[in-house]
């Protein structure tokens, strides 16, 4: 097996309710997402022989994947927990696809959930806020998480003339999509002026440039492409996958304005034999608005430095050239921490199944999802399609 292209398909996908979900803890959300994906795939838990998870912050386990397998009394041949921040979901899928392709297992359940909105103790929340950055050489300077990204935003403004209005346009577009999504946490429309007038957090970022804090979970079922026609829903094939890892600490970044999304995107497109112009719908990690501009540039959807003009022109909104985050994204749908990008994935699966309802991108055949973890540190890009 020299390539993963077309080797595996997503045959089940499900989200839990998201937002404020105090009636369920992270483990219960995880189980709810997992059972939802199994039901969507029409399979029994005993058909799962691979399990991949990511630990919860609100309810951490020493060995999360083993604990979840035990909870559901499943006994997989392949079982692991992976942590790579926001990029975890797609890195997990990349590894799970490899496990299927090399015969380690046949059908993998990937489920992720957390309760950052209602499940954290005060002490946990403070530790989470303070634990970003280098312990000795960054954390003493007192940066909340948005401040790390503000350094990137400022550098992009200085280098390319990007404006606060252009960054705000990302939040406005995500919110416009969320108004069409009954599941989204924030559904009232907002304007660029609303973003600019929202509470300043870390210049140039205001509150509405920042993603939500949520409870929630999502899961998918991944299996070998040869078996993918035996499931109730049309399969969504993995056509390309790529990763790029540039740094861990922002003060050590090779560049503040160009990320390792260049490498991850190039690898994913090369495997797929496709390019940016082929993509009908995308899910781009949107923890803060400037991140989307850099991802659009580094993945090749527009030239370097033109991300601001690209989003200001309406290209990423439904009806535009590349609808992005049609579910509302981390900015308006939900952001329960590491599981956040799973919802970008389940949304693109819905789009490629033609099941996205009021948010459907007409004739969507090729989708792309991209996520990054850390502070623009570790990147993973997946290209998905309706045919092998």
């Amino acid at each position: 097996m020299s390539t993963l292209r077309g080797a595996v398909a997503i045959v089940g996908a499900a989200d839990t309710v998201v937002g404020k979900v105090p009636q369920m803890g992270p483990t219960e959300l995880w189980i709810d997402a997992a059972l939802g994906a199994l039901a969507d795939a029409g399979i029994d838990k005993n058909e799962i022989d691979g399990l991949v998870t990511c630990d919860s912050m609100a309810e951490p386990y020493m060995y999360h994947a083993e604990a979840m397998a035990e909870y559901l009394q499943i006994f997989p041949d392949y079982c692991m927990g992976i942590g790579a921040g926001g990029g975890t979901a797609f890195a997990i899928l990349h590894h799970a696809a490899s496990a299927i392709a090399t015969g380690m297992c046949k059908t993998v359940l990937i489920s992720m959930a957390d309760s950052l909105r209602t499940g954290l103790t005060r002490a946990q929340a403070q530790v989470m806020q303070s634990s970003t950055g280098h312990k000795q050489f960054e954390q003493p300077y007192g940066l909340p998480v948005p401040a790390y990204y503000a350094l990137i935003a400022r550098a992009h403004m200085d280098a390319y003339g990007t404006t606060a209005e252009q960054m705000a346009a990302v939040a406005v577009s995500c919110r416009a999509h969320a108004t069409l999504n009954p599941a989204a946490q924030m559904r009232d429309p907002i304007t660029v002026a609303d973003v600019l007038e929202s509470r300043p957090i870390a210049d140039p970022l205001n509150l509405l440039d920042c993603s939500l804090v949520s409870d929630g979970g999502a899961a998918i079922v991944l299996t070998a492409a040869e078996r993918a026609d035996d499931f109730p829903h049309p399969p969504v094939y993995l056509l390309g996958a790529g990763e790029g890892h540039g740094h861990e600490h922002i003060s050590q970044a090779r560049s503040l304005t160009t990320s390792a999304a260049v490498e991850s995107g190039r690898a994913a497109f090369a495997m797929a034999g496709l390019g940016p112009a082929d993509i009908d719908v995308a899910g781009l990690y949107d923890c803060f608005t400037p991140v989307v501009l850099i991802e659009l540039e580094d993945l090749g959807f527009c030239a370097k430095g033109e991300g601001g003009a690209f989003v200001e022109g309406g290209n990423i909104t439904l009806g535009g050239a590349l609808p992005v985050n049609t579910h509302g994204g981390l900015l308006s749908h939900c952001h329960p921490g590491n599981p956040g990008s799973m919802f970008h994935l389940t949304e693109v699966v819905s789009q490629l199944r033609g099941a996205a309802g009021a948010r459907q991108v007409p004739d969507a055949r090729f989708g792309l999802v991209h996520a990054q973890g850390g502070i623009m540190s570790s990147h993973c890009t997946l290209v998905l399609g309706t045919e092998r």
Binding site: Q126, Y141, D203
Partner: protein, 131 residues
């Protein structure tokens, strides 16, 4: 609630001792003729050995933010404060705070180190604008 206090390791102790002595210490590789920060057990380029040297303490603002929402209560009374990425004259980049009127901070501004004494154990390097 305390600030995020750095805990020196055997490797980084010379850096923090330097701060207490009023000297910004970074590492230098004689083979690569290159400075490095943060401190490492080897030169990250050639994997050879490195020596501690005193940096000039001069640098330039590469990017910055004005923090309006403190990371914790320990930093709340300092809001708003300027955090910047600074390119040292010797080459390496580091993060620090710049003590200035927030209207004055800008990318490209020249800065110079000073040392903020937090306790008998902890002294933190910060920067000021220079004209």
């Amino acid at each position: 609630m305390l600030k995020n206090l750095p805990v020196p390791t055997p490797l980084t102790a010379p850096y923090w001792e330097g701060c207490r002595a009023g000297e910004l210490r970074i590492q230098y590789c004689q083979v690569c003729e290159r400075h490095q920060f943060y401190p490492r057990s080897v030169c990250a380029e050639c994997l050879g050995s490195v020596d501690w040297v005193a940096a000039s303490g001069k640098g330039e603002v590469v990017s910055y933010t004005v923090v309006r929402l403190a990371v914790s209560e320990a930093y709340a009374e300092e809001v708003p404060y300027v955090v910047a990425l600074i390119r040292l004259a010797e080459g390496p980049q580091l993060m620090s705070q710049v003590d200035c009127e927030i209207e004055q901070i800008a990318t490209g501004r020249s800065v110079e180190v000073y040392f903020d004494v937090w306790s008998d154990e902890v002294t933190i390097p910060k920067f000021r604008l220079v004209s």
